[in-house]
Amino acid sequence: MAVITYLEAIRQALFDEMGRDERVFVIGEDVGAYGGAFKVTEGLIDKFGEKRVIDTPISEAAIVGSAIGASYMGMRPVCEIQFIDFIACCFDMLTNFAATSRYRNGAAAPIVVRGPSGGGVGGGPFHSLNPESFFLNTPGLKMVEPSTAYDAKGLLKAAIRDDDPVLYFEHKFLYRRIKEDLPKDDYIVPLGCAAVRREGTDLTIVTYGAMLYPCLEAAATLEKERGAKAEIIDLRSLLPLDRETIVASARKTGKVMVVHEDTRTGGIAGEIAATINEEAFDHLDGPVLRVTAPDTPVPYSAPLEDFFLPNAVKIADAARKLVAY
């Protein structure tokens, strides 16, 4: 066991998988000698050489497009998008080419596209994106977002070994703030499985990514205040969603709120609310509530972004409302 950060866990997963399988390679901007804008790929080029750690021009469509082609030849490309916001520049390649490939002609396109997402670090409107709902409506894609170092490593290994295109969002706020003891030996965290981070009976909080922590904080407050026990579900996989775990918890507690850092309208909370409605309506003792960022681009200035982001206080407020409902 060794205490490592969320970022280091991602880096280890890349080292492990490239060592385990010579078909795995990394491609992106400044991923080579520089080791990536956040140093996630640091050292890879020394160990695996520049044939397997490819520095590209500033061309996201070429990064993803060439990865698709290489995957057709049996390779396992891992694309780095320097900031996940720039995934908008290869949106077509992902939604039209990669996502439909297997459905159209049975052609697997096992690529991984990873990059730093999320706010809370003063990145402003173009370096803080939570892109999940851009892709939630595209069958053929998978999406994950780890909230712990353990999952960061296990989900990336699972994504690289998966036979479908997987978008892997790493929350940059967690890169160096989250540390954990990780097992030395090889493990994966299977795609499509949520984790129950806290058992509870009075309400369910569904969340993922960096929001897990304010949710845990709010849950503790709630229990201290009034003994209300919140169950917290960390989605981990956003596509496919672990509907079983969500619905089971909803049936148990009868009260559900969804917390995401992404803006409200069109956010993933809608899909979860709809699912719970369809599969647990009779067990509901209150509305499925949402705690999210408001419907604006992500503002740069600290006072604005602090106000914009969901936090433990806002989550606790909503939770009290729901418990009292």
């Binding site: 061309s59 469509a61 497009g65 290489a70 057709y72 030849m73 459905y103 002609n105 036979d163």
Partner: protein
């Protein structure tokens, strides 16, 4: 010596066979279209079959092709059985896409070390096939089974961002990619003058430092000579190459388009330069390597073959609706019919493709 001079008379006839077959398959498709057996767009390559065949003919068996909707000739050249095309156009359940995707959108991915062509049909978003082609050639090399990738692209599609990013990436990485840029004078209704401010389409390569040549696309021998040279360069480590093809789209964008925006005089001038006719003349009158009879035999052969294949496809079943949700993700073992590859009647006598 020109590469084409090294081709046997048998190979030359084989090239004609593929071009003729492409034309006859399309003419069958027109009949089926009129009978509403083909729904959706039907795209003719009339007048472009020559360049499509002559470029693909320069490839080796294990190479990769990424054709566009007008590259029926390339598909015939790498050995795609016409039946596969009819199945696709008629949206049959037996087709490679099982009726899920259009026309020539077929994919054939051989085992990593197999000496079979890699075939990756386009998606509709123009330009996307260029980065993918670069990745195929790059990935094949990484797997230790080098394959040259040849991708065809229309004048209009060279205006897409994906084309630019793919070309530049291939140039920097010295990837064995040969791009065939087809200047057929129009992109749908848009004349080339509204598409680009250059007059030679091969100059589309000059921003990337990619070697490029322009060739008369209706002269199959000239096209083959340039293509062979560039494919050899790419294979020898010369990196990405671009062939600019000067040709003409002799019909509308698709069957629904009467192309009234194309001046009749222009069409007439190009009609006189029909690539199959010119090739026939060249072999009979200049090279004296073939007889009228040889061509007459091929014409009959391809016409009958196309008709037979079409008839076979007509009777095949449409897809089973209950399968619609299968095969979106790995794991539900939904079988996909492999694209059937066939050798030409000339192959036995030794062909290069």
């Amino acid at each position: 010596m020109k590469a084409s001079e090294a081709l046997s008379s048998n190979q030359l006839l084989e090239m004609y066979y593929f071009a003729r077959l492409a034309r006859d398959v399309e003419e069958r498709l027109v009949i089926l279209f009129r009978q509403s057996q083909v729904i959706g767009g039907l795209y003719r390559s009339l007048g472009q079959e020559g360049e499509s065949v002559a470029t693909a003919y320069a490839l080796e068996r294990q190479d990769a092709v990424l054709p566009l909707i007008r590259n029926m000739g390339a598909l015939m050249t790498v050995g795609v059985r016409p039946l596969e095309i009819f199945r696709q156009y008629m949206a049959k359940g037996t087709s490679n896409s099982r009726g899920r995707d259009l026309n020539i959108h077929i994919v054939h991915l051989p085992e990593p070390d197999a000496d079979e062509p890699v075939i990756v049909g386009p998606i509709s978003m123009l330009g996307d096939s260029i980065p993918v082609a670069a990745g195929i050639a790059m990935g094949a090399g990484m797997r230790g089974k080098p394959r040259v990738a040849m991708a065809w692209i229309g004048d209009g599609a060279t205006s897409t961002g994906a084309f630019h990013e793919g070309m530049n990436f291939a140039a920097v990485q010295k990837i064995p990619l040969v791009v065939v840029a087809e200047d057929n004078k129009y992109a749908y209704s848009t004349p080339i003058a509204k598409q680009m401010a250059i007059t030679r389409i091969d100059e589309r390569a000059s921003s990337y430092g990619i070697p490029h040549e322009l060739v008369d696309g209706n002269d199959m021998l000239a096209v083959y000579d340039v293509a062979k040279r560039m494919v050899d360069n790419a294979r020898a480590g010369g990196g990405a190459q671009l062939i600019g093809v000067d040709t003409m789209r002799m019909q509308g964008h698709a069957q629904h388009d009467d192309a009234r925006y194309v001046p009749k005089a222009v069409l007439d001038a190009w009609a006189a330069k029909d690539p199959l006719e010119r090739f026939r003349k060249a072999l009979i009158e200049e090279r004296h390597t073939a007889s009228e009879q040889d061509f007459a035999d091929i014409d009959r052969m391809t016409k009958e073959y196309a008709a037979k294949e079409a008839d076979l496809a007509v009777d095949e079943p449409m897809p089973d609706p209950s399968t619609v949700a299968r095969g979106v993700y790995a794991g539900d073992d939904f079988a996909v019919p492999r694209v059937e590859l066939v050798a030409s009647p000339f192959a036995s006598k030794g062909s290069s493709a």
